[in-house]
Symmetry: C2
Subunit: 128 residues, 2 copies
């Protein structure tokens, strides 16, 4: 049995699922696998996300210590988001998910052109 902040988990797989059970968080994690980024850069990477949602998701990931937020006292102020070591350790899961999804689509769907999003992930984040 596992306990995190009074929440109970029967299995450690459920702990992991809790971290990226929504696609926004997953997207943030993988764009940060590429490199540390500012809010504006993440907002451009995940262009469908609203500023409000991005703020909420970043906050949630920070509370779980998956990402860190560093504010530099410059003018204009600069805030940089980065994966923590445990956040970076999510890479193998994303790589396996990427490969499985690709095989699944080969069998059960249609593959169109590679999107800029995916090309970026494969080249810079997943290192496949």
């Amino acid at each position: 049995m596992y306990y995190i902040n009074e929440k109970e988990y029967k299995c450690s797989v459920a702990v992991t699922l809790d971290v990226f059970n929504d696609r926004w968080k997953l997207a943030i994690i993988w764009y940060l696998l590429e490199k540390d980024k500012r809010f504006k850069e993440l907002s451009e990477d995940i262009h469908e996300i609203t500023q409000k949602t991005l703020t909420i998701k970043l906050k949630e990931l920070e509370e779980k210590n998956i990402i860190s937020r560093q504010a530099f006292l410059e003018i204009p102020p600069r805030v940089v988001y980065a994966l923590t070591p445990i956040g970076k350790a999510l890479r193998p899961i994303l790589e396996e998910m990427y490969l499985w999804g690709k095989n699944y689509v080969k069998e059960h769907g249609t593959i169109g052109e590679m999107t800029a999003c995916e090309a970026s992930v494969v080249k810079k984040c997943l290192k496949l």
Copy 2:
């Protein structure tokens, strides 16, 4: 870009997330990694699940070709659920999720006794 039944995905990771974005489906998949099972066995493995929910989740996984359902014309009738080859290929993802979750709890939570659920998964399903 990926298309499955008219649904559009920007990245193959999102395809994978769509398969096990709820913990019931994830639980069904990993208990089937152990061996093919009857409805009753799955119902005992995942003892918090209602019969109605289990029926719905099995149906959804069957529609996605993650599991297969074989009915034997015996008396009483026997129905066996098994992972398809692409379903079995989810194993590495679950293994990585298991390991990451365990490390995360070591840093950010408390580990209690290993539940029967987890012991079973680790021994029989994940082959760790």
